[in-house]
């Protein structure tokens, strides 16, 4: 059996530390996901408005988010705000701000896509049956939007969870950061630790995202 460097995991509190790191990553992603979904639905509805100003603003926002790497945004918020405004944001708060900013834009675009993909005929045949505008939204448009949205937004959620690994760059102690610390600390005693520890990290991310992906796949089939 080759030395996978797994033994370091069972030294002291290492495993607990890694799981704690995963906890931080999940906490950041869950808060950001919750904010992104709520804000994204509102911004997405705004995007479908004919008003040129709301269009231009939302368009701009989306482009900025698309162009900027999340890492740059992260540095900008974490270090930039300290420099310019003298704020001292914690790493976790900065991460939540950046991921929500990003997630809201992506979510909004999904919501916009789902709303405009519902054919005008659906509105018209609902109207022809005597449904009011509110009833049409409630019984016809929203259920179809949500069905289209759920698989797509679950995809976004898994991407957001994965991307939280970036926060180690600003010193938030999450799973990858813990992993690096453990590897560093055990460099002499167990040189192969890097493999085992990163393998564990991989498995943890997998365990967090896999069920979500499965759910997305299931819903996609069911609601096709």
């Amino acid at each position: 059996m080759p030395d996978l460097g797994l033994e370091v995991l069972f030294k002291g509190k290492n495993l607990m530390r890694i799981l704690g790191g995963l906890g931080v990553a999940l906490k950041i992603s869950l808060i950001s996901v919750a904010i992104s979904i709520l804000a994204g639905v509102l911004v997405g509805m705004l995007m479908t408005w004919k008003n040129p100003i709301s269009r231009a603003v939302t368009r701009c926002y989306l482009e900025i988010v698309r162009i900027m790497p999340q890492m740059v945004l992260l540095f900008l918020v974490y270090f930039g705000t300290t420099r310019i405004f003298g704020w001292n944001l914690s790493g976790e708060l900065s991460a939540v701000i950046v991921f929500s900013f990003w997630g809201t834009a992506e979510m909004a675009d999904l919501v916009r896509g789902a709303i405009i993909s519902i054919p005008i005929h659906q509105y018209e045949s609902a109207a022809a049956l005597g449904l009011t505008g509110m009833q049409t939204y409630r019984y016809i448009i929203l259920p179809q939007t949500v069905r289209r949205l759920i698989p797509l937004s679950i995809n976004l959620i898994t991407r957001m969870i994965k991307t939280t690994s970036l926060v180690l760059m600003i010193g938030v102690v999450e799973v990858l950061k813990v992993a690096q610390q453990i590897i560093e600390a055990n460099r002499m005693s167990s040189p192969n630790a890097a493999f085992g520890v990163y393998l564990t990290v991989f498995l943890l991310y997998f365990a967090a995202c896999w069920p979500i992906s499965m759910l997305a796949g299931y819903l996609e089939k069911r609601w096709r």
């Binding site: 018209e124 045949s125 109207a127 022809a128 049956l129 005597g130 449904l131 019984y139 016809i140 179809q144």
Partner: protein, 252 residues
Amino acid sequence: MSEKVLEIEHLVKRFDDLTVLNDISLDVHEGEVIVVVGPSGCGKSTLLRCINALEEIQGGEIRLKGEAVSKKSRNLPEIRQKIGMVFQSYELFPHLNVLDNITLAPTKVQKRSREEAAEEALALLSRVGLQEKAGSFPRQLSGGQKQRVAIVRALCMHPEILLFDEVTAALDPEMVREVLDVILGLAEQGKTMIIVTHEMQFARAVADKVIFLDEGVIKEEGDPDQFFDHPKTERAKEFLRTFTFERKHSHS
């Protein structure tokens, strides 16, 4: 003569500067079946959409049992309940099964009980030969089946008048018949209907009165046999010729 269900007076409909309907007047009586024919783009769909107030009108008046139909009416949803419409493209609600498609409006709009609405829906479905499809979703149905469901959905609201806009135009030829038979059955039951169609044989069989619409005006109206056998206007003759095929024999 029986009671007037629908009155259209001097209807004018424009899209920007394009006048699509230019001073149309038409009365539809209880139990009457009106078939509207005319070349593509002459405004047949627009006429039906105006009757259902899906389009704003620029002049004239439309009344259903004396009540004005207009996009601005505050009780528009109530008026529309009395006007059943079936469109060319199947527009069932894809997230609801057949039964729920049919009972949604009766229960949510007319506040009828779910049991009563479902019972009627099933009875109507079996009349069009689809009782075993009640639990199916629209994507599991053929085009002809979808259109029959759409007709049942409109019927279940007990409308005063039914509007059909080329309901067979998007169907494969072998499915046209099953849908037209349903509409013929409705005519026999004495339903009041306005039917837009390109199926001339069917038009002749079902119509009490044929309207020939061309360039936004009613060019000809009258008895179906009269219209199809002896059209009065040159435009109508030309239009009817597009449905007959002749082989030009050339002997050299």
